[in-house]
Symmetry: C2
Subunit: 154 residues, 2 copies
């Protein structure tokens, strides 16, 4: 089962996001866990590999189950662990092989093109530091079919 | 990949634990996640199935990676999500098929027979509400080979 860790890095009312070339969607920087890692070890390694920045004490803010469906068939299930962090060291990498890294003003984040489930995650993060739990159900084309999140209301 | 959710339920300086018949070791009640569940949905369902108790707002307190090794070979990797909770409804089940449910005085917990990694988890929970991240490395006979936990010091 694929497990992804990523981190919402905040600085001066901006969030560091990755604009992926395929759809032009924005994503939270991160990547796949490796064998034997804790989720925190993974997010620190992945963020450094992708951005050259060293996260300082990221904190888990959300744990999510993703289901990719073809009708009633579950094609894939994976998990995502999302951290939040407001301290780091290092200088941002100039070229990231995954896409373009961009400090986006926090107030613009909700209007960016992104996976619909990610929008719910941002809505939570931008207003709360409570842990968020969720399950998202997508088609193979990454169209959101359904989601359940707790706390609700996002 | 197997994913387990469990919950440390606290009441009047006691913790509800499950004494498993095989080794006589004590464990945190819980069980395996099902497809599509969030970790919180899973822990509520598993705890109810095992104890008849309905957890009220359990909170994630630890996320762990477990590696079962045979020498340098990784035989199995799985994850455990541990919640803590101090409110519930319902009446404790009389017979649990997994073992014996017991309200153990908190001050005795550290001295019970259990997996060594679980002892580190309890040491943390009994003194802190900060999120705990960890990786544990066990033999097939459940002898602890190594662990990394964050925060350290447990």
């Amino acid at each position: 089962m694929q497990r992804v860790t990523n981190c919402i890095l905040l600085k001066d009312d901006h969030i560091l996001l990755l604009k992926k070339p395929r759809r032009g969607w924005y994503a939270i920087p991160g990547g796949k866990m490796e064998q034997g890692e804790s989720i925190k070890e993974s997010v620190i390694r992945e963020f450094r590999e992708e951005t050259d920045l060293q996260l300082i004490q990221p904190e888990l803010i959300g744990t999510f189950t993703f289901n990719i469906l073809d009708g009633a068939n579950v094609l894939q299930e994976w998990m995502m662990f999302t951290f939040v962090c407001d301290q780091y060291s290092g200088r941002l990498i100039e070229h990231c092989r995954e896409g373009e890294l961009e400090w986006v003003p926090t107030k613009h984040v909700m209007n960016l093109p992104m996976a619909e489930g990610d929008r719910a995650i941002f809505k939570h993060i931008l207003t709360s530091r409570k842990m968020l739990y969720g399950s998202f159900f997508y088609t193979e084309q990454y169209k959101l079919i359904d989601m359940r999140i707790d706390p609700t209301g996002y």
